[in-house]
């Protein structure tokens, strides 16, 4: 982040960030799942998969939002007829 990246690298940067975010959150989810299955659920397998999926999903959502900031859940931007004409 020291030097301002050139404009053509903005998309690639987003990819990088998304990947990093995915790894972290997935790891956190996995860890929480493991602990939860060990502590509470007598070493069942599904809590681990669930929490990992939560983490991956969170990172995906963030990444998608970074690519398309206007996308907000429950809303939809309708393109203007002038823009359509163009």
């Amino acid at each position: 982040m020291s030097t301002a990246p050139s404009s053509e690298n903005t998309v690639a940067q987003k990819y990088d960030r998304c990947l990093a975010d995915l790894v972290v959150r997935t790891g956190i989810g996995f860890g929480i799942g493991v602990m939860a299955s060990v502590i509470f659920l007598r070493r069942r397998g599904w809590p681990v998969a669930l929490s990992t999926g939560f983490g991956a999903g969170m990172s995906y959502a963030d990444c998608d939002r970074s690519f398309n900031p206007a996308r907000i859940p429950g809303t939809r931007v309708i393109p203007s007829p002038t823009a359509e004409a163009k």
Binding site: S7, E8, V11, K14, Y60, D64, F67, N68, R71, V77
Partner: protein, 624 residues
């Protein structure tokens, strides 16, 4: 005080002296030195004297007396010589005063007498004077005694002795202090000086010293006031208070009251007192006359009458002489007056004659001067005429010659000038043309130089600031004073482009082809809006599967646009490439922002330089 040696010498004089004068000298001298002894010396010579006992006890005391004689002689010689040397030599003076007994006393006396002022050369004169004085005195004494007949005629021996003894005395004295003989002679003659009255008062009666002093000794020296003479002495019998009309009349005072006082002789000296100042001879004579009168008075009365007559006659003669002198004075005055008159007259005459001569000489001079002047003027006139004529001729000849020369010269000059001017015109024309050409070349060179400079900065392979070049260019433009160039330069200068520089074209091209174009290609399939993560992923995956388009292709899609831009860039047409890329929208446009801004800056600068270049070209064209 006198030294003892002097006394020793003086005594023999007294002993042999028979004449009253000589006796008086000795007595007077002794009266000042040893008062008491003097009186005694009158009849009995002192026993201490070395010479006195010599004749009586020659046998017994021969040796002693000889020693005494020699010692006294030696003493005399030593002291006399020492005094003389001490007066001339300072060192000997010191020695003499300090180490010789009685030396200090001698030197004091010598100084008081003023001997140190005289020189040894004056001694002979003094000696001669002393001798003369002595001789005169003896002579006077002889004549006196002969005239008065009261005194026995002095034997020639005594006279001789007195004259002989006078000489040694003078020689012993050696100094200007008047020798006794001389003093007495003076006193008798001129009758001067202070010591006289004292000595007179104490001098004993000359006629009968022996009878009176046999019983009672007379104390002749002056006693202090209120003192009595010592026992055995008596005061002299009333020393007559000297009636002092004049110093010269003193010796006349009678001593013995016994003879009845003779009719007083008239004194001559007071009569001629007023003459004494102007005529010392008369005063001298008068005093000697008075002297004689005094002696006459002392002598038996027989002579007084004759003396009186003589004195009367002398007085009369003196009166007459005075009258005659007055007459002579009057005559002298008269004659001097006449002489003066004559002198003045002759002076006047000489003056008038001189005036006459002077006037004559002046007149003559003037006349001669005038004639010479006239002659000189005439001569000058003729000379100047001749010279003028000659000058005129020469001037005319020279003028003709000069005119001829001038004409020739002017002709030559005109010819030269004509040719020179034409040639000069041609020269000027060619020079002007050359100058024009040079100026044109210069402007073109200058413009080219400027252009090259700025373009060098713009076209250099690396990005660098060109503010300095811009400034130089601006100066040149300002010098040219062209508003278009200045406006273009202002548009560049207002931004920060000159400081950071512009991207070179090659950099822009490589930047586009290597990084910008692939990225834009990967997002080419995205929709304009609402492109999420999946869309991006799909676009990037699918775009790689597409065929790449090249060259000047139709179409408005992203890949076609990119192909055209790349084509333009390869043809170094940055402007067209930028225009193509500027048409894109959406995500591709976002990716292209940086590259487009850089290209636009470069394009701006290039446009300004193109304007300047065209303007410079225009102005260079305008010059022609």
């Amino acid at each position: 005080m006198l030294p003892a040696s002097r006394r020793a010498i003086a005594r023999p004089v007294f002993r042999h002296g028979r004449s009253p004068g000589a006796r008086m000298i000795i007595r007077r001298r002794f009266a000042t030195e040893e008062a008491i002894e003097t009186v005694k010396a009158g009849e009995t010579p002192p026993s201490t004297a070395a010479a006195s006992p010599r004749p009586t006890k020659k046998k017994q005391r021969g040796f002693v007396s000889r020693i005494a004689l020699y010692s006294s002689l030696f003493g005399v010689v030593f002291y006399g010589g020492s005094t003389a040397i001490a007066l001339s030599s300072e060192r000997y003076h010191d020695f003499f005063v300090e180490s010789v007994p009685l030396g200090e006393a001698i030197m004091d006396y010598a100084e008081t007498q003023g001997w140190d002022d005289t020189t040894l050369f004056g001694l002979p004169r003094l000696a001669i004077d002393g001798t003369k004085g002595a001789y005169r005195f003896v002579e006077g004494a002889v004549s006196r005694t002969l005239g008065s007949q009261g005194y026995p005629t002095p034997s020639p021996a005594s006279k001789e002795s007195s004259t002989e003894t006078g000489r040694p005395i003078v020689k012993r004295d050696t100094k200007p202090a008047p020798s006794p003989v001389w003093t007495s002679a003076n006193r008798g003659a001129a009758g001067d000086s202070t010591p006289v009255p004292k000595r007179k008062t104490c001098s004993p009666v000359p006629s009968e010293p022996r009878s009176s002093t046999s019983e009672v000794k007379v104390y002749t020296t002056e006693l202090p006031l209120g003192f009595e003479p010592p026992p055995g002495f008596s005061r002299p019998s009333k020393p007559k208070p000297v009636e002092v009309p004049l110093s010269a009349s003193k010796p006349v005072t009678p001593r013995s009251p016994r003879p009845p006082p003779a009719p007083p002789l008239p004194l001559v000296a007071p009569a001629v007192a007023e003459l004494s100042a102007s005529e010392p001879v008369i005063a001298h004579i008068a005093s000697s006359i008075d002297n004689l009168a005094g002696y006459l008075r002392d002598s038996p009365a027989g002579a007084t009458a004759a003396a009186k007559d003589i004195l009367d006659a002398a007085q009369a003669d003196l009166e007459e002489k005075k009258k005659l002198e007055e007459q002579l004075d009057a005559q002298a005055q008269e004659y001097s007056k006449k002489l003066l008159q004559l002198e003045v007259d002759s002076q006047d005459k000489i003056d008038s004659q001189e005036e006459g001569y002077k006037a004559m000489i002046e007149e003559e001079r003037q006349r001669i001067l005038q004639t010479y002047k006239a002659r000189l003027v005439a001569e000058l006139e003729t000379q100047s005429q001749i010279i003028n004529e000659r000058l005129k001729e020469e001037v005319i000849a020279q003028g003709i010659e000069m005119q001829r020369r001038w004409i020739r010269e002017i002709k030559v000059r005109v010819e030269q000038e004509r040719g020179g001017r034409l040639a000069k015109l041609d020269d000027l024309a060619t020079g002007l043309k050359r100058l024009e050409r040079v100026a044109l070349d210069n402007t073109s060179y200058l413009d080219e130089n400027l252009r090259l400079h700025t373009l060098c900065a713009v076209d250099s392979p690396i990005r660098k600031p060109f503010r300095e070049e811009l400034r130089v260019l601006r100066h040149v433009a300002a010098a040219r004073d062209e508003p278009i160039i200045i406006a273009a330069l202002d548009s560049i200068e207002r931004t920060d482009v000159p400081d950071i520089g512009v991207e070179p074209l090659t950099d822009l091209v490589s930047w586009f082809t290597t990084s910008v174009a692939p990225r834009v290609e990967s997002v080419a399939l995205l929709p304009d809006q609402n492109a999420g993560l999946l869309a991006h992923l799909a676009s990037s995956v699918l775009s790689t599967l597409r065929f790449k388009r090249h060259g000047l292709v139709e179409g408005t899609d992203v890949s076609s646009v990119l192909a055209r831009a790349e084509h333009f860039l390869l043809e170094k047409d940055l402007d067209s490439a930028a225009r193509e890329l500027n048409q894109l929208r959406g995500v591709p446009k976002v990716l292209l922002v940086d590259w487009l801004s850089a290209a636009r800056k470069r394009l701006e600068v290039e446009q300004a330089l193109a304007i300047i270049h065209s303007q410079a070209t225009l102005s260079s064209l305008l010059v022609v």
